[in-house]
């Protein structure tokens, strides 16, 4: 058996067949090019998505604005949104959106900051590994579940605390509060990332000058991470503006221009969900009006996201 070991020449072709080495450059690699083209197309799908959003939203919204029933001026200044009688003023919807978002930010902003500072500057590694997953879990809860929570826990709680006459069953306050819980992990985790990116040497320098832990956190680390924190806040705001299910469930149906957070009011997203959930016929003014609202929503969130990205890029302090 051992005698049958073959001796295999290392490079048989080159040594026996041709003396000239192959020129690999002249080899067109068709499959490689096809693969690259395919990969490029997959990447470009994202561009088609954006184009699709702009084209379809724009087209239907254009149909809305060019129709005889509504003018651009009326859309932006009208204080009544009642498609049945031809009133299309976006202010009640916009107002409700700003109210729920505002309440959400009132909750999420201070809490998010405090949580981020705690996790990044105070918490022991053990505490961190316990608390961070909990926040991540909150961020991963489907919003329809949070809507259920708002309607069946937050609203009864508010009604018990403030009074049943004041707080109605559907109200923007409970939707806003729960939305605050939703964006709290978003803001806190982005802020914490920004805080942890501040180099240790800055902290140690401040400690060396006799600063207390609080002073290091609030007067050295936070200012140094300000660009990241601002970006986090803006992203949280944009997320709250685009959030649909919590407000659709808990904030009430029917556009209503009110500043009272304990009364029902319908946000832009809530309106889209309610109307498109019913029977909707294409090419009706109702159908087109939804796209006008959606376009508005898209532009607001896009603007916020762009500003946030710009802030990160522009004002980031780069430490070595």
């Amino acid at each position: 058996m051992a005698n049958e070991v073959k001796i295999v020449p290392l490079m048989p072709e080159v040594s026996t067949e041709s003396a000239k080495p192959q020129n690999l450059r002249k080899h067109p690699r068709i499959i490689e090019s096809i693969i690259q083209a395919f990969l490029f197309i997959c990447g470009a799908i994202s561009i088609f998505t954006t184009i699709g959003i702009i084209v379809y939203l724009g087209e239907e919204a254009l149909g809305f604005f060019t129709s005889s029933e509504v003018s651009l001026f009326e859309f932006f200044t009208g204080t009544v949104w009642q498609p049945q009688i031809g009133n299309f003023g976006i202010l009640p919807l916009l107002n409700a959106t700003l109210m729920t978002t505002g309440i959400a930010m009132l909750v999420a902003l201070p809490l998010g900051m405090c949580v981020a500072i705690y996790l990044s500057e105070y918490a022991s590694p053990k505490m961190r590994s316990f608390l961070k997953p909990i926040l991540e879990v909150i961020a991963g809860i489907p919003t329809v579940v949070l809507g259920f929570f708002a309607l069946y826990t937050m609203t009864p709680l508010l009604r018990a605390l403030i009074g049943k006459e004041i707080v109605q069953v559907y109200n923007t306050a409970s939707a806003g509060l729960v939305m605050g819980i939703l964006i709290l992990p978003l803001i806190s985790s982005m802020t914490e990332d920004a805080l942890s990116a501040v180099p240790r040497s800055l902290r140690e320098g401040a400690y060396g000058l006799g600063a207390t832990r609080l002073e290091v956190a609030t007067q050295v680390v936070v200012p140094a991470a300000l660009s990241g924190i601002t970006a986090a806040i803006i992203l949280g705001f944009s997320r709250a503006v685009g959030e649909a299910m919590i407000v659709a469930i808990a904030a009430g149906a029917g556009p209503n221009l009110t500043w009272n957070p304990f009364r029902p009011a319908e946000t832009m997203t809530g309106h889209i969900v309610r109307i498109s959930g019913g029977d909707l016929s294409y090419d009706s003014i109702d159908y087109n009006s939804l796209f006008a609202i959606a376009l508005m929503l898209f532009l607001i969130t896009l603007l916020l996201n762009l500003v946030s990205q710009r802030i990160i890029k522009r004002f980031r302090e780069v430490y070595e």
Partner: protein, 430 residues
Amino acid sequence: MSANPQRDEFGNAQSGQTEATNRFIFIPNLTSRHRRGRIWAIVFLASTIVGVIALTALIVTILNDSFGYAAIQFTVQPETLAPGEKTLEQMTCPELASLLEENISPNRFRQIQSEKPFSERTQRECYELVITEVAKPKAVETWPLFYSLQYRHELALYVEQKYPGSELVFRSWISKDFISSHQSSDPLLAGLRTAILGSLFVIAIVIVVAFPVGIAAAIYLEEYATQSWINRVIQTNINNLAGVPSIIYGMLGLAFFVRALEPLTSGTIFGATVSTTANGRTILSAGLTLALLILPVIIINSQEAIRAVPSSLREASYGMGATKWQTVWYHVLPNALPGILTGAILSVSRAFGETAPLVVVGASTFITYDPGNIFSKFTTIPIQIYQWTSRPQDAFRNIAGAAIIILLVLLLTLNATAILLRTRFSRRLI
């Protein structure tokens, strides 16, 4: 401003000025500074605990609603229906059918038979029919878990007085029947089966579409893309798309997949004969919409995973004479795969819980049959939760809670898989 006192302070120490000056700078505010520090430390901890409390409250609410006493009233007691020694559950389908025929109007009986003949129905279906059509149980009032436990005896008395002839049962709203029965307008009989199947169908399409496309796009951006304007546009665009609200994707899906591509998404192009006209509001449309929604997230996550593969691996591969694709396929991808999969599974779990885009795309509110193929109408678990939450009766709130538990368990399983993958494979890298 901040630099001056520090220099002064240092200078003071050097020149050895009076103790009073030193004290003026340091001591009077030292205790208050420390006190403030302690107070804020508590505030920071407290706000973190608020998050924990919120999560606990959420879980407690859901559990509270998913179990508890219910007062159930039958129009006809089921025991009186079964004449012999057999109970209703033990009877065969023909027996049940004749029982049904005796007790309901001939018209209704013919209607039921024309929907699906009794010879084709299973025993279970026949039994359900008898219960719904003849016994007609109705939850007249329900109570949440903690209330039920606290006031057990009072409840028994209360029900006896207020609803004579009704039965007070402790009910777990989440049960085997709840998972396996179809939608119904009666909360006692309604089940999640259609929605679970719908969710699985939709997610299958999301996976089939979004995984390959997303990973391919990430490979392109990380391995192939040069610094040209088009690649920069693609990258910026993906980052922006990740921040677009999900409901906007729903509008895109409605205008594009449901309306513009109706022949494709309703299956008429393929000659699919669907008994009910879904008008493009199909599982396929829903899946494609959600795929677009999570695509940017998958791409960004995969890019990070690919970027984490050390470049020495690529260089070694090129050094052996491998082509670009060979390098990517045999070296980069296998090493990046755990990271890619983790990110992809997490984004799928996001798609699993999405509601708003599917409402907009046109999920059906009430279907009582299993989705047959990707061109059927659909409903998903979150859609069902939304539907049930918006109904006024108490009992719907209970089954919404039960559905939430099922949804959360499924999501937890998905996320646990992702975490397992991450911990299992992350050690092998580098």
